[in-house]
């Protein structure tokens, strides 16, 4: 990354907790943090591609963000092992691809539990350690769809709209503590989530029609998240960083 490698991150060994770290954007964030010299407490239900990552600064815990007790335990363990926690990326998320009237109650509940209640519970588990440090940065994932909507993703869009409200409230509540809270809103990023729904041809066409002529990559988003985690964003809180290739402006 050279010139573009983010500075102002903790490299003293404090942990950055990343949920959903086994795949997609969160996997890229985990790798970018490791490349920047940071220590990562990576949480996900499955290790996925992280199983092949060889780094003494990577600590994986199998965890479901709906399980607060497990997260409290994991956060305490990370803080003890690493001397504290520097930041949190509450990235775990799911999406059900279905028209509005076909979204089942069970699917809706599951999406809201993981995408919206999940970040809330994760923050509750991690926050005591950030408070103890007297500083820290929390990043949650909203979505451009939270502002523009889109077809066949009512559960996902509802959850992401909720994340915007949750993050701003938390930003206000924590503003005087030295702990910052922001969101990132990606446009369509080339990850397993859209890949599960759209054909490769449709994804490529989508990218070609965008102002930058390409889809967003996981590295594009990771760079934005690392900026928000870093001291470069020391006066940035309650904001939504839209990494969308210039596609949706308002």
């Amino acid at each position: 990354m050279g010139e573009s490698l983010q500075k102002g991150l903790d490299t003293s060994g404090l942990a950055y907790v990343v949920t959903g770290a086994g795949s997609g954007i969160n996997l890229a964030i985990t790798r970018a943090l490791l490349a920047a010299g940071c220590t990562v407490a990576a949480w996900d239900v499955k290790a996925g591609a992280l199983a092949a990552e060889k780094s003494a600064r990577l600590h994986f815990t199998a965890i479901d963000v709906r399980d607060k007790a497990a997260m409290v335990k994991a956060a305490d363990e990370s803080a003890t092992r690493c001397g504290g926690i520097a930041g949190l990326v509450a990235g775990a998320g799911v999406m059900v691809h279905a028209p509005f009237l076909e979204i089942s109650e069970a699917d809706f509940d599951r999406t809201l539990a993981i995408n919206l209640k999940g970040p809330m519970l994760t923050v509750q588990a991690v926050l005591p350690h950030l408070r103890a440090a007297g500083k820290g940065s929390i990043v949650m994932f909203a979505s451009m769809l939270a502002r523009y909507a889109g077809l066949n993703a009512g559960d996902y869009i509802a959850s992401k709209g909720g994340v915007l409200g949750l993050a701003r409230t938390l930003a206000l509540e924590l503003a005087e503590t030295g702990i910052r809270v922001n969101t990132v809103s990606p446009m369509v990023i080339d990850t397993p989530m859209p890949q599960a729904v759209y054909s490769r041809e449709r994804m490529e066409a989508r990218g070609k029609s965008s102002p930058m002529g390409r889809l967003g990559t996981v590295d594009d988003v990771a760079a934005g998240v690392l900026f928000l985690l870093s001291d470069d964003a020391s006066f940035v809180t309650g904001q939504d960083l839209r990494v969308n290739g210039g596609e949706r402006l308002f």
């Binding site: 990354m1 503003a175 964003a233 020391s234 904001q239």
Partner: protein
């Protein structure tokens, strides 16, 4: 990269010039040439590369002269930080045409004129990056700041149009939207005690309960100018301590 910074002689512009100078050649443009010279001298004495030029961004003649004054060692320009700005404080019913023109022409016409002058170099290179200084006041209003709010909202609008017109041609355009930052502009025209009272009033309203520093805005500008913001275009990032969230 060669980066032109307007309003580079003080405040946010000067802080950004100093931050960028460890990797970039910075061209510091200001209507106050002595101020630009001082910032450039500080950078050069610290081992960086900086050039000072004089400009009134609201004047096409002056912008043309500025471009002619920027030497070959700082060409082509790959980065542009449209940051020059002034302020007047008058309620709407008391705003003079002179004051309005000064504020709007500096902020809005200034972005247009300087961008029109620099963009051909970027288009020829098929790459470039522009950051415009917008404001929290691009989004919200403030009593007594009608000209400033109108100008900053217009700067954000121009940012979006520039992004739509130039992103597909390899040029990223974004805005930084600072909240209350402790700069000479904020203190200008106020007695020290009055300025301090103003700062305290701002602090009480800011969720972080402190003013921002120019260096904290410079860090955001640096991010937007860098490859770290490779997929960000047409956006506004607010270093504002949580004052405006949207």
């Amino acid at each position: 990269m060669n980066v032109l910074i307007t309003g580079g002689g003080s405040g946010i512009g000067a802080a950004t010039a100093k931050r960028l100078a460890d990797r970039h050649v910075v061209v510091i443009a200001d209507r106050n040439k002595a101020a630009a010279d001082a910032v450039a001298a500080e950078i050069v004495s610290a081992g960086g590369k900086a050039i000072a030029v004089e400009v009134d961004v609201s004047s096409a003649v002056s912008v043309k002269a500025m471009m002619e004054a920027i030497p070959g060692v700082a060409r082509p320009l790959g980065g542009l930080f449209n940051n020059a700005g002034i302020n007047i404080r008058q309620p709407i019913d008391e705003i003079t045409e002179l004051g309005w023109d000064a504020v709007v022409n500096t902020h809005v016409k200034g972005v247009l004129l300087v961008s029109q002058a620099v963009l051909p170099e970027m288009l020829a290179a098929k790459r470039g990056v522009v950051v415009n200084t917008a404001s929290d006041y691009s989004i919200i209003g403030a009593p007594g700041l009608g000209a400033y709010c109108a100008a900053k909202a217009a700067v954000y609008s121009l940012t979006k149009v520039m992004a739509m017109e130039f992103t597909s041609r390899g040029i990223r355009v974004n805005a930084v939207g600072p909240g209350p930052i402790d700069t000479p502009m904020l203190r200008a025209g106020r007695a020290p005690a009055e300025a301090e009272a103003r700062l305290e009033m701002h602090k009480a309203k800011i969720p972080m309960k402190r003013m921002g520093r120019p260096e904290e805005v410079a860090a955001v500008v640096d991010f937007l100018l860098s490859e770290r913001a490779s997929y960000i275009a047409g956006q506004i990032i607010h270093p504002n301590g949580g004052l405006v969230m949207w």
